[in-house]
């Protein structure tokens, strides 16, 4: 292994390759900030460039830089504009955006950068050590377990079921799940609930819904509620990107835990960064002390660090099935697989033996990609954060422009704009009525996978006996139940204790 690392290092550290990784990170960060372009699209753009380079290691190093840059760029638009461009950064906006509104945009971006860096780096170390061993873990999960895992992911909505909001949060989740059923599923060759419209045949697009639920209502809110639009942070304070010692202490264990958990979720083909970020958020909220729990969703540093560390670690984890089995576990790795094959590299168990220099160059380039990203971005953060200091009259059209553009370039379809505006108005009404919108989006994102995996398991087991027959499914469902019940149980116990004799403990 040591020899491999050395081969990788010498390959990755040549001048061309370092320039490639820097260029890739910059391109990725800037294009990634546009809501409509996630890592997958950006990598797809860069593939022809990478292939024309010819040398597989250099090409992969460029793509790795683009990949990490794009993930970080995506977090930026989530935090600053409440416009998550990819499903994996939805959870980032839960606490990142409230922080930015409170004038702590610089700090939020710094935490995101550090959590991403740590998640990516820890992920790369785990990948290096465990990749060969983990290839089998990736195959432990059947459709039944994926179904259960999606249920665990849904428990993240508990975080939005604040006092008196439980009913509303459940209502919105169900609405999201219903919206996920629109269109042609993987399991039926007939479109459902499309009203005969070809535009709905493949369902609602994630990006349209995300913009409609988060970014558009936010912009409309700013127009209709001017009092909100002058955050304390619109002053020079915004450049304050220092993290206090207490905050660093608070997020360090979160980052550690979520890097590990995120990595292992990422290893499963078909789970990926989105589930990792929701789960990370849910788990951290549930294990946080009571007074910190209330902060989640209102600008908690832990609530920001958790999904950022988790989704980066998961992205790295998704390289395990790609490199060791040749199975792309996510859309992004599917594109990378295409690039690898175009470069005459076939990933699989023999990659490590046949072309160790490529295997190790990829892993080393992940470290370098992460490091370069951190070095490049930390000095840039004050300038990026200044976006929020733009006067409202310019900022709102800016947000609207990016929101509409994001929905359009994703699909090349003008109908998306109508759907976006219609849903955005509906979402604004819901916000005024104090309905949480995040559960709707979570339900929508997880709904399709939940249904597909559930239906497949039903088909395989001729009924729902898989819940009993597969202990791991049962185990995951129990965890989901605990995650949903524990918080209220804890609250009740605390209340009971407070009411009882004050023998204290």
């Amino acid at each position: 292994m040591l020899e491999g690392i050395l081969i990788g290092l010498t390959t990755a550290l040549s001048l061309t390759n370092i320039l490639m990784v820097i260029g890739g990170c910059l391109i990725g960060t800037f294009i990634g900030m546009l809501p409509g372009l996630g890592p997958m699209s950006i990598i797809a753009i860069m593939i022809p460039v990478a292939i024309s380079i010819g040398d597989p290691s250099t090409a992969l190093i460029l793509l790795a830089g683009v990949y990490y840059g794009a993930i970080f760029g995506g977090s930026t638009s989530s935090i600053l504009l409440n416009a998550p461009g990819v499903a994996g950064t939805v959870a980032t906006s839960f606490d990142g955006y409230p922080m930015a509104r409170a004038g702590k945009a610089g700090k939020a971006l710094t935490i995101a950068a550090i959590a991403s860096f740590a998640g990516g780096t820890i992920g790369a170390i785990l990948l290096m050590i465990f990749a060969p061993m983990l290839s089998n873990v990736a195959l432990l999960f059947h459709s039944a377990e994926y179904f259960a895992l999606m249920v665990v992911g849904l428990s993240a909505i508990a975080a939005f079921a604040g006092t008196g909001q439980v009913g509303k949060a459940i209502l919105m989740t169900v609405l999201g799940l219903m919206m996920a059923t629109v269109g042609e599923g993987a399991l039926y060759n007939l479109p459902r609930f499309t009203f005969g419209l070809l535009d709905l045949q493949s369902g609602f697009s994630f990006i349209t819904l995300a913009m409609a639920m988060f970014a558009l209502p936010e912009a409309l809110f700013l127009v209709m509620n001017p009092a909100r639009s002058d955050p304390a942070g619109a002053s020079g304070k915004i450049t304050d990107l220092r993290i206090t010692r207490a905050e660093a202490r608070a997020i360090a264990p979160v980052i550690g835990r979520q890097s590990l958990q995120g990595f292992f979720i990422g290893v499963l083909p078909g789970a990926g960064a989105t589930i990792a970020s929701f789960l990370g958020y849910a788990v951290e909220r549930n294990i946080a002390p009571k007074h910190e729990q209330a902060e989640f969703g209102h600008g908690s540093v832990k609530g920001l660090a958790a999904p950022e560390a988790a989704n980066n670690a998961a992205c790295t984890g998704s390289f395990v099935p790609l490199l060791t089995l040749g199975i792309p576990g996510s859309g992004t790795t599917a594109i990378l697989l295409g690039a690898l094959i175009a470069l005459n590299v076939s990933p699989g168990p023999r990659l490590m033996i046949d072309s160790p220099e490529i295997f190790w160059a990829v892993i080393i380039s992940m470290y370098i990609g992460n490091l370069v990203l951190l070095i490049l971005n930390l000095p840039l953060i004050p300038y990026i954060a200044k976006i929020l200091a733009i006067p409202r009259t310019f900022l709102i059209p800016f947000i609207l422009f990016f929101t509409l553009m994001g929905a359009y370039i994703g699909q090349n379809n003008a109908t998306e704009l109508l759907i976006l505006v219609g849903m955005g108005v509906a979402a604004t009404v819901l916000r005024f009525a104090d309905y949480p919108l995040a559960p709707l989006l979570i339900g929508f994102i997880l709904g399709r996978m939940l249904e597909d995996n559930f239906a497949r398991s039903m088909q395989l087991y001729d009924g729902i006996s898989f819940v009993i027959e597969r202990p791991m499914t049962m185990g995951l469902l129990v965890i989901a139940l605990l995650l949903m019940v524990l918080p209220s149980l804890r609250a009740r116990i605390a209340k009971a204790r407070a009411r009882g004799i004050a023998d204290g403990d």
Binding site: I27, H142, E184, A186, Y188, P191, L198, G326, G348
Partner: protein, 328 residues
């Protein structure tokens, strides 16, 4: 969720503006076209994607075409891209859409309102046989083993595929089982929404066998992950000579999933001729041979009117089969 579809112009502009690099042009005196934009009606990593990118790679590296760009537009079972091409016909003269057997199947089932007659038929270029594969650790080593396992316990011998029920992977599985004398309606077919997920399910033991494209199976067979137990070709295929054909094993099935290219309706005749000339010239280049051999494709070149009669014939064969199986 694995949708990617990119605004072509926006991206090309973004990519070139950010990079300031131009795609290197290979000096070739025989360049036929400046550029081709490939429209791929499905996600990255699938069969359509591989065909478009492979063809683009061969055309550009052989110097027949200056540059190639690619756009994935999934949705509606490919109907979205077809609709897009028809709707924007006037502005899409530079676009070639890749498609294959499913355009025939899906217009038969009415998944989308259009069929191949609504497009300009450029050329059928390649075919890919279908294959039945099992995991490397599976006790099944041949079609006879698979059928024996099916006879012993049809319920736990699930066959997976990367298409919806009634889609191509399912039709092939049904065709094979029918030819082996079984009732295809009793075969438990489990659909997955992406080839990668179906392959993971096969390796994890969730399904007993996988109906998939031969070229997709070859990559994994070469990596030692799966065994190919039957190919729907008449003769063994050079790309993976160890794989037995269905016919060798007494199952009389021949199936080729053709792939080819379509252009927007109303394409000017000289543009059509240029595309067809570039594709015809491609077959003689060593660059094409590299791509073709790597993917295990079979050259089946049908240009223009030949392509039309080929499609009409296939429409009839598949239509009859689907009626027999109860899908129509």
């Amino acid at each position: 969720m694995t949708k990617i579809s990119l605004g072509r112009r926006a991206l090309i502009i973004a990519a070139t503006a950010t990079l300031g690099w131009s795609t290197p042009l290979l000096a070739g005196g025989h360049q036929v076209l400046d550029s081709i934009h490939f429209l791929i009606p499905g996600g990255a990593g699938g069969g359509w994607d591989g065909t478009a990118r492979g063809t683009g790679e061969a055309l550009t590296s052989a110097g027949l075409v200056g540059s190639a760009s690619y756009e994935n537009m999934s949705g509606g079972g490919g109907g979205k891209a077809i609709g897009f091409l028809i709707e924007n016909a006037d502005s899409q003269h530079g676009t070639l859409m890749v498609n294959s057997t499913p355009i025939v199947i899906r217009s038969l089932t009415g998944v989308f309102p259009h069929n191949f007659r609504d497009l300009t038929l450029v050329s059928g270029t390649i075919g890919d046989y279908a294959a039945m594969v099992v995991s490397k650790d599976s006790p099944i080593n041949s079609m006879a083993d698979l059928i024996a396992a099916y006879d012993a316990d049809p319920k736990s011998t699930a066959i997976g595929g990367g298409s919806v029920p009634g889609g191509m992977d399912h039709l092939v599985a049904a065709m094979v089982m029918e030819a082996a004398g079984k009732d295809a309606l009793n075969v438990k077919y489990i659909p997955y929404d992406a080839g990668g997920k179906a392959m993971a399910a096969l390796l994890s033991g969730e399904i007993s066998a996988l109906s998939t494209g031969f070229s997709e199976a070859v990559d994994l067979a070469n990596a030692g992950e799966v065994k190919i137990i039957g190919v729907t070709s008449d003769e063994r295929v050079d790309a993976y000579g160890d794989a037995m054909t269905m016919k060798e094993q007494g199952i009389d099935v021949n199936f080729v999933n053709w792939r080819g290219f379509f252009a927007a309706p109303g394409l000017p005749a000289e543009d059509l001729a240029a595309y067809q000339a570039a594709i015809s010239a491609m077959y003689d280049t060593p660059e094409w041979e590299v791509v073709r051999a790597r993917n295990g494709w079979v050259n089946i070149h049908n240009s223009g009117d030949d392509f039309r009669s080929f499609l009409e014939q296939q429409e009839k064969v598949i239509g009859d089969l689907m009626k027999k199986l109860g899908f129509l």
